[in-house]
Structures are given as structure tokens and as C-alpha cells.
């Protein structure tokens, strides 16, 4: 009777196998891919996507989608960047508060529009994607925050390490994943997200506040975009009003969809999402080694999203065929 475990295992195991196969086949061509060094490169590629993916996963679980995360990343990074530039006397970790707090507010705004006016999240966040990007330009007067303004302590978080030579930023991103796991598996509100996505009509009948859960997932998505925003400043050392976070939502959606999170709500795990992020990181890291130009990256993300959707669909159709057959005595 634990057939579902097998399915779950198969999904995550499937991605893991894909990661291994991919790495081995790249390694066969370019042996240097299978070194600790390239592991470092992969791990340094994923933290921002990992953090964004956790937020997006929650939003998708609740049967919504958040397209504005890239713009939220940009706006929150810019907010901290401007604080670093114009108020250098402020202790730099306050930047985390600023970015995460602002992100939560922006996410709440998305959530409020979705629940109060009962609007489809796709249109709302398409609107705020542009609104937040516009605000970034206005706030910064279209000027970049250059390297010299970003505190070196912040920048060094992407380089220095508490242990094993693994930089802080990677620890933070995996910490976020672990926290998200705890949140969705072991808190009431976390389980309510699954319940809402699973059956939105019935959720209120079980005392689940649809408004509350929707606000929470969008706020978390915003807050995590904010965290990704400040870490962007740490990782790259600058904040640009037009580039920072642009296209982030597509990378994140690609990772989450590969990880097996269903766009129909209710289905998806942290482990799957993490593996999806790692697979995407491996692909990104392998491209330059294989001599494939960086301009192909966007096309690969697109193809990967579509492939993941198609595989999901085929698996589900097979499952359905099996279950109807099983119903026949």
C-alpha cells in the first residue's frame, strides 16, 4: 500500500539519476568537470536560484505563480545597495533586514491583489514585474551601485567560508531549503498550503483561511526574493537597475518545474526542488566547459521547462491509464 512512496522516490530518484548521468557524460568528454573545483562552480551558481525556487515552490503549491520575483530581487537589491551607498555609516547586516523586509512587503502586495480582487496571479505578477522594475529605475535614478559601495564584508560572504571551504552564501541557501522543508512538513500552515493547492474549494470548509495562506506564500516568495537580492549584491558586488534579477523568474520556474512541482498545485517536495536546482546548476556549469556559448543559456532554460512539463504529463497519463485499468475487477 505504499505505492505512493515509490512514485515519490521515483520522481526524486529520477532527477538524481539524471544529474549523475549528465555529470558522467560531460565528464567523459571533459574530465575536469568531475573535480572539486567544478563542484565549487556549480555550488556557487545555485544559491540565488535555490532561494528563489523555495519561494516559487510554495506559490505553485498553492496553485498560483509569481512572475515578479526577478523584479523583486532587483528592487530589494537596489534598496540595500542605495543604503550602502548613501548611508555608509549603517552597520552592513542591516541590508539583510532592508532587502528581506521590503521583499516581504512587495510579495504581500502581490498576494493582496490576488486574494482581495480574486485576480489570476499570472496577470497580477506580470503587472508588478513591470511595476517593481520601473520603481527600481526611479529609485536609483537609473544608476548602478558600483563595487566600491558594496561592503566588502558582504562581498566576502560569497568567498570566505566557515567550514570546508564552502562559502557562506551556499550555507545560507541550503539553510533556506532546510527551513522550507521544516515549514512545509512540520507546521500547520505549511500543510495548509498543500491542502489549499490540493482542493481550493474545500479548503475553507476545513477552516483553512484561503486569504491567509495566499498572503503567506506570496509574502515568503517576496521575502526570499529579497534575500536573493542582498546575496546578489554579495555574489556580484554590484547592483544594476536593469540587469539585476532580470530573467531570474524563468530560471527559477525552470528549476522548480524540473524538480517535479506541479503547476496544478498540491504536488511538490523540497528535495525534488533542490535536485532540480542542482541539475540546472550542472547544466549551466557544463556549458562553458563544452565550449557552448553563454548565449544559449536562455534557450536551454526554455527547452528544459517544456521538457519537464512534457515528461510530467506523460508520466501522469500513464499513471491514469494504470489506475483506470486497476479499477476494473
Amino acid at each position: 500500500m505504499t505505492g505512493w512512496r515509490h512514485i515519490l522516490l521515483r520522481r526524486e530518484a529520477g532527477i538524481a539519476v539524471m544529474i549523475v548521468l549528465f555529470c558522467l557524460s560531460v565528464g567523459a568528454v571533459k574530465p575536469q568537470f568531475l573535480t572539486l573545483d567544478s563542484l565549487r562552480i556549480i555550488l556557487l551558481l545555485v544559491p540565488l536560484i535555490m532561494i528563489g525556487a523555495m519561494g516559487q515552490m510554495l506559490v505553485l503549491l498553492a496553485r498560483h505563480v509569481d512572475l515578479s520575483i526577478g523584479s523583486m530581487l532587483g528592487l530589494t537589491a537596489m534598496a540595500s545597495g542605495m543604503m550602502f551607498r548613501y548611508m555608509p555609516e549603517v552597520w552592513w547586516p542591516v541590508g539583510f533586514l532592508v532587502s528581506v523586509g521590503l521583499g516581504a512587503v512587495l510579495g504581500l502586495f502581490n498576494g493582496a491583489l490576488v486574494t482581495v480582487f480574486r485576480l489570476p496571479a499570472i496577470i497580477v505578477t506580470l503587472g508588478t514585474l513591470n511595476l517593481y522594475r520601473g520603481l527600481t529605475f526611479i529609485m536609483s535614478d537609473a544608476k548602478q551601485i558600483d563595487r566600491q559601495y558594496v561592503p566588502s564584508a558582504l562581498k566576502s560572504m560569497s568567498v570566505t567560508s566557515p567550514i570546508f571551504g564552502i562559502p557562506w552564501i551556499i550555507f545560507i541557501s541550503f539553510g533556506v531549503a532546510i527551513l522550507t522543508y521544516w515549514f512545509v512538513m512540520h507546521t500547520r500552515i505549511g500543510r495548509q498550503i498543500y491542502a489549499l493547492g490540493s482542493n481550493p474549494v474545500a479548503a475553507p470548509l476545513r477552516g483553512i483561511s484561503v486569504t491567509k495562506v495566499t498572503l503567506v506564500v506570496f509574502a515568503i516568495s517576496g521575502a526570499l526574493s529579497g534575500l536573493a537580492g542582498i546575496l546578489y549584491a554579495s555574489r556580484w558586488g554590484f547592483v544594476n537597475p536593469s540587469n539585476t534579477g532580470s530573467g531570474f523568474e524563468l530560471q527559477v520556474i525552470a528549476a522548480v518545474v524540473i524538480g517535479g512541482v506541479s503547476i496544478n498545485g498540491g504536488v511538490g517536495t523540497v528535495a525534488g526542488t533542490v535536485l532540480g536546482v542542482v541539475l540546472l546548476g550542472c547544466v549551466s556549469a557544463a556549458l562553458p566547459l563544452l565550449g557552448i556559448p553563454g548565449t544559449t543559456q536562455s534557450a536551454i532554460y526554455g527547452a528544459v521547462i517544456l521538457l519537464a512539463l512534457m515528461i510530467d504529463r506523460l508520466v501522469r497519463m500513464q499513471g491514469m491509464a494504470r489506475s483506470t485499468r486497476a479499477a476494473v475487477p
Binding site: V65, L67, L113, F117, R118, L119, P120, I122, I123, V124, L126, G127, T128, L129, N130, L131, Y132, R133, G134, L135, T136, F137, I138, A142, V201, A202, L205, P241, L250, I253, A254, V257, I263, N264, P293, T295, T296, Q297, S298, A299, I300, Y301, G302, A303, I305, L306, L309, M310, R313
Partner: protein, 331 residues
């Protein structure tokens, strides 16, 4: 059943219909028209340019490509689907066109390549959405990434110039009207008639209102949707080539973010995001409204960033307004 549905009791008589003037007034197109008039008045206070028709027409050429696509997008949304990929489609078909020219293809062949590519992209969307029954939202987010990415693969980060003979569609005037504006108006009339008076148009509304019932009534819903996505691809490619002609060169970021303006035109025109309602007239009016608003912002010397904000806010406000209007006229 878990919804608190109102049972249909036997004694319930049909409710009285609304008077005709009220029906007319609460149509969202009326709202769009009023806003358009207000925008023109406000604009004329800002600058006398707004009373100069040729200036407005010239400004419209900047958005005409998106507006043309928005007309077909309106039909797609009425049929209960959505397509976020047309701006990326514009870029990829324009890049293929320019690449073919660069590689020495004659102009007619290059144009064909561009158009066929556009239709093929529409066909990919249709295959995934109709054939594999995946939701159009996420599919077209995927294809938007893919098409734009392929454009980048083809064109790299360079811009490809197109030959001088091809440049300047926006400067061709017919009876004082720039060709792109004329094309937009013409397409509006044709598609407006198709949607409002033909069986094909009627069946689009049927599908968008209740696809299951439509199939029971013998509507070939999959075929109709397929045609819509193919048309979407073709029109996007045409719009892409028009943009190439206007700009004189092609880059992978051609029309970047255009899906916002297209969706916005449809929403401002009163197209119902959940399908089944809307009109070409609404989108036609909304396109003009948007052009006036954007021109106003340029004349008032606003930063492009403010324009981005205004568009984002407009999108949200228009969808709230449309939803309110429909929820008040229909329980």
C-alpha cells in the same frame, strides 16, 4: 458538491432584463471609450500636439506591431487560453529573417522564412497546449524563454542590419496614414467582423464560456484553438518583420517585454481574463488609449521607468475593473 450552490427552485421565475441603455453603458468597451476621450482631453491640456492627428498617428506606429498581435491575443483569451510568447516569437522570426538575408537569401525567401518560422512557433504552442493538454500559461512561459533564447543563439549579442530597401514601413503614408496604422485598422475590421458575425467567432465565445458544453454541441474546440495559435504565430511573425523594418536592424531583444503591452491592450479593452467575453472593438479602442497615455508620458518628459510603472499599474487596475463589471452584470 461543496460549493454553496443555489438550487434552482421550481417557483423561480426569470429575472427581469436590464434596460438597453444600461446594458450598453456597463459594457467594458464603453469604459474604454470614455477613458480614451478623457485621455485625449487631458493630453490636449498637456500639449497641443495631441490635437494634431498626424502626430498621434506617428506615435501609434511605435506600438502598432504589439497592437496587431493584441487583436489576435484577444481572440485567444476569449477562447479561454493565453499566449505570453508572441513578443519572443517576433524576435525569433525577425532574427531568422535577418539571418537569412545576411546569409544571402533573396528578400522574398527571407520573408517566407520569417513567416513560416512564426507559424511553426505557433504550431509548437498548439501542439503542447492542445495536443498534450498542458496549461497555456506555463507552456507559453516556457516557449517565451525558448524562442527568445533561440533568437539569442542565432543573433548573439550583435544587431543585424536589414537592407535599406526593407527599412521604413512606418514612413510609408497612404492617405496620410502610416502603413502600420492602416494595417492595424484593417485587421481590426476583419477580425472584428470574424469574431462578431461568423460561426468561427461565435464558437470562440462558446469554447471560452464552457468548453465541455461546446464539445457536446459539436464545436470542434481543439481545431479552433489550433487555428488561433497558428494565427497568433503568423501575426507575431508579421509584427516581427514590421518591427525590423521600422528599426532598420534586428537584435535578439526585439520587442522585449512586449507581452505586457499586448496583454494590457486586451485587458484594457475589457477582455475577460477567464474567457468567454471581450471584443475586438474593445482592444482597438484600448490600443489607441494606450498610445495616447504613452505619448502623453513622453511629451511630459517622463522617464521610461515611470512608463513601465504606469503600464504595470494600468494592467492591474484594468483587470480589476473588468472583473468588477462582469461580476456585477453576472452572478
Amino acid at each position: 458538491m461543496t460549493q454553496t450552490e443555489i438550487p434552482a427552485p421550481a417557483t423561480r421565475e426569470a429575472t427581469l432584463p436590464r434596460p438597453a441603455w444600461k446594458v450598453l453603458l456597463i459594457r467594458p468597451e464603453a469604459m474604454t471609450f470614455v477613458l480614451l476621450v478623457l485621455a485625449v482631453i487631458a493630453g490636449s491640456q498637456l500639449s497641443e500636439y495631441f490635437l494634431d492627428l498626424s502626430y498621434i498617428l506617428k506615435s501609434f506606429t511605435l506600438s502598432a506591431e504589439f497592437a496587431i498581435v493584441a487583436l489576435v491575443l484577444t481572440m485567444v483569451i476569449i477562447a479561454g487560453e493565453i499566449d505570453l510568447s508572441p513578443a519572443a516569437n517576433m524576435a525569433l522570426s525577425a532574427c531568422l529573417f535577418a539571418y537569412a538575408l545576411d546569409a544571402g537569401a533573396p528578400m522574398p525567401l527571407a520573408i517566407c522564412i520569417g513567416l513560416v518560422a512564426g507559424v511553426a512557433m505557433g504550431a509548437v504552442n498548439a501542439a503542447l497546449i492542445i495536443g498534450m493538454q498542458l496549461p497555456s500559461i506555463i507552456v507559453t512561459i516556457g516557449t517565451l524563454t525558448l524562442y527568445r533564447g533561440l533568437a539569442q543563439v542565432i543573433a548573439g549579442d550583435k544587431s543585424i542590419r536589414v537592407p535599406d530597401t526593407f527599412i521604413g514601413i512606418n514612413d510609408i503614408l497612404l492617405l496620410g496614414v502610416p502603413l502600420p496604422v492602416l494595417l492595424f485598422t484593417l485587421l481590426s475590421v476583419v477580425l472584428g467582423l470574424v469574431l462578431a458575425t461568423t460561426v468561427f467567432g461565435r464558437q470562440i465565445y462558446l469554447i471560452g464560456t464552457n468548453e465541455v458544453a461546446a464539445r457536446h454541441a459539436g464545436v470542434r474546440s481543439q481545431r479552433i484553438k489550433m487555428w488561433l495559435f497558428l494565427l497568433m504565430g503568423l501575426v507575431s511573425a508579421i509584427a516581427g518583420l514590421m518591427t525590423a523594418s521600422r528599426l532598420g536592424s534586428v537584435r535578439y531583444d526585439l520587442g522585449l517585454g512586449g507581452e505586457l503591452q499586448m496583454v494590457l491592450m486586451a485587458m484594457l479593452g475589457g477582455t475577460y481574463i477567464f474567457g468567454g467575453r471581450g471584443s475586438i472593438l474593445g482592444t482597438f479602442l484600448a490600443a489607441w488609449l494606450l498610445v495616447i497615455v504613452m505619448t502623453g508620458m513622453i511629451v511630459a518628459n517622463w522617464m521610461p521607468a515611470y512608463q513601465l510603472c504606469v503600464l504595470g499599474v494600468l494592467l492591474i487596475v484594468s483587470i480589476i475593473a473588468t472583473n468588477l463589471i462582469y461580476s456585477r452584470t453576472q452572478r
